[in-house]
């Protein structure tokens, strides 16, 4: 059967066209509706019309499988994103909104309720900054990220509640799709079941034609034989999928657990004819030129995943993870977070390297909870000190100071090589100073460490001592310690701390220009040290603006504050 024509949606398309063309209060449209009502089809049609009119169009889709991967839905614009995490969202937005000759950009977000939090934040920022026009689809009755819901609740997107077709529209669609009249009894029975839900209609017709019960006789379609039809769309999808050959089911399941799944991986895991069969049946779609496979409809995945046992899902994830990690993969290097999560929830033996790399990447994408989970998983199977330090860092960032202290205390007690040991001491002292609010204990950690350190290590520790003195409002002593430090002994983290100490101390001593120079140096160091940048930059900006304000450089303070404001706008959460 050919693709069915869009029917009964002229008025809805007009609403969308109005929003796209008018310079009105809306940055786009959210299409809300029940499963199968035709939200995605309407969005695709609107996207095609916009493309015809010269818009640059982008397609993003939330999926169950990618929901736990930070930036999973925006993977096509997020690959190889390294560097300062505070600039991550800004760089994704820049890539999404780049268009030739300044053409307006339309971003279509299908199933926005399934976006991961960071992608939802990107969507929110696209809308709030009016950086692109957005069409988002959401299923009614299903929870969505707050960042998505706020877009229409706060009036940024026009909400269009898509309704099932009328009886007349349904009949017209049926006749058009079947290319011949449908007898009235047949149309009536179909209407009673489907009530204008286009997917239900499509599934029903496909199933009944396949079963030989919907037949063409005397120039029109009739529904013959015993009526053995499910009363709900989900049951019907379940029934239809249940009749699918096992190799095709395997294809659906593989895509469902890792959607969107690169075609290169899918072809390595499943029989080519089964993949073609799944595509022919509309159970999966393959997007070009990205060559990724997606489910034909989210319900297919929901039905299959609900039926699949835990062990089967683990096995499928394991097969996909192993294929992704294979060195001769045709699909390129996998997203480390995606690979780590698949591996973590698979039947494969835990691999601390995979988990550590995933944790580091998750941390760079500002998903500290996930980074902590992955780092802990890496530690549980004997990962090295990198995972332990990251775990300590994440616990501190999550304000889980007591757990952080337990881990970091044990790390500082070990004979770790440099720079791991001084990093552990810095993190422990940081954790005690800020999340736990125990400055005396923080000082004692540095005192004890200095007692056993010598050479370059002691200079690294003194950098933190300088910070402690600076935040205790002892700027002269802080500067004295700063002057005693051999800077060539410092790596990124202590160098950053030293610059912070200088900035705070100079500010308190009424030397705002020197404070500003030190703060700028600290900002550059933070940009080069993503792990440190996460929280250091925000703290630094506070002291930076304070120094300028106290020194009477109000215009400069406003400029720095504006820069910080922009930076914080790119960071989800409470930054």
């Amino acid at each position: 059967m050919q693709a069915w024509p869009l029917t009964g949606r002229a008025e809805e398309l007009e609403v969308i066209a109005d929003v796209l063309c008018a310079d009105g209060p809306y940055a786009g449209v959210v299409i809300a509706g029940s499963a199968g009502v035709g939200k995605t089809r309407l969005a695709r049609e609107a996207m095609a019309l916009a493309a015809e009119r010269g818009w640059a169009v982008r397609w993003v889709a939330g999926t169950v499988a990618a929901q736990s991967v930070p930036l999973g839905a925006c993977a096509q614009w997020a690959d190889r994103l390294e560097g300062n995490p505070l600039q991550l969202v800004g760089s994704v937005i820049a890539k999404v909104t780049a268009s030739p000759n300044g053409a307006p950009v339309l971003v279509v977000v299908d199933d926005a309720r399934l976006l991961d939090n960071l992608s939802a934040f990107v969507l929110q920022q696209l809308v709030l900054r009016r950086a692109a026009t957005v069409i988002a689809t959401i299923r009614t009755g299903a929870p969505a990220p707050d960042a998505v819901t706020a877009l229409w609740k706060d009036g940024h997107l026009r909400r269009l509640d898509l309704q099932p077709l009328s009886r007349g529209e349904s009949d017209a669609l049926l006749q058009s799709a079947l290319a011949r009249p449908v007898n009235s009894a047949c149309a009536e029975r179909i209407w009673r079941l489907t009530r204008g839900n286009v997917l239900f209609l499509h599934q029903l017709v496909t199933q009944e034609m396949h079963a030989g019960r919907l037949v063409s006789r005397d120039g029109n379609w009739q529904w013959v034989g015993t009526m053995e039809v499910s009363q709900s769309l989900v049951d019907l999808v379940d029934l239809r999928i249940g009749e699918t050959p096992e190799p095709v089911l395997e294809v659906i399941d593989l895509v469902a657990v890792a959607e969107p799944l690169e075609l290169a991986h899918l072809t390595a895991l499943a029989d080519a004819s089964a993949i073609e069969d799944a595509e022919r049946r509309g159970l999966i779609t393959v997007s070009m030129p990205t060559s990724v496979a997606r489910l034909g409809h989210p319900l297919y995945g929901e039905v299959r995943l609900a039926q699949a046992g835990h062990l089967r899902l683990e096995r499928l994830r394991g097969r996909i993870a192993r294929t992704m990690a294979a060195p001769d993969r045709a699909a390129g290097a996998p997203d480390p977070v995606r690979l780590g999560l698949l591996w973590l929830e698979s039947d494969l033996s835990p691999d601390h390297d995979v988990f550590t790399q995933a944790a580091q990447a998750a941390f760079r994408r500002l998903d500290v909870d996930l980074a902590q989970r992955l780092a802990a998983a890496a530690m549980a199977v004997g990962a090295g000190v990198d995972a332990e330090l990251l775990c300590g860092n994440t616990l501190m960032s999550l304000s889980r100071g007591a757990e952080g202290e337990e881990l970091l205390k044990s790390l500082t007690a070990r004979a770790l090589p440099e720079p791991a040991w001084s990093t552990a001491v810095h993190l422990r002292a940081d954790n005690l100073l800020w999340p736990l609010g125990q400055p005396e204990q923080s000082r004692k950690v540095i005192d004890d460490a200095l007692a056993s350190a010598s050479g370059p290590v002691s200079h690294r520790l003194l950098a933190f001592r300088a910070v402690q003195l600076a935040v205790e409002a002892r700027p002269a002593e802080a500067l004295e310690v700063c002057e005693s430090i051999n800077r060539t002994a410092l790596f990124a983290l202590p160098a950053l701390k030293l610059a912070c100490a200088h900035a705070i101390a100079f500010g308190d001593l009424g030397q705002p220009l020197r404070a500003a120079a030190s703060a700028e140096q600290a900002v550059r160091l933070a940009e080069a040290s993503p792990e440190a940048a996460f929280f250091q930059s925000i703290i630094l900006i506070v002291y930076y603006t304070e120094a300028l304000t106290l020194g009477g450089y109000l215009a400069e303070a406003v400029t720095v504050a504006d820069r910080a404001d922009q930076q914080c706008a790119d960071v989800p959460g409470t930054a």
Binding site: V15, A32, W152, L160, D161, Q163, P164, S166, R167
Partner: protein
Amino acid sequence: MAHDDVDDYEAALRGLPEAHSLALRLRSAGVADEVVCDYLHIEPEGLDTLLRVAEEKLDAELHKR
């Protein structure tokens, strides 16, 4: 409205998707917006657009007659 016009209007209303038809009937009966939304299971933020779409579909139905 003449009798034929009333029949046409009623027939056009019946030709609409159920939610659109119901929204127009409830509004013309003076039912409060929040009650209309409750009946239709839609969010208040979507009511204006639903009514606009309903009116345009009604116009299209009337033009067919």
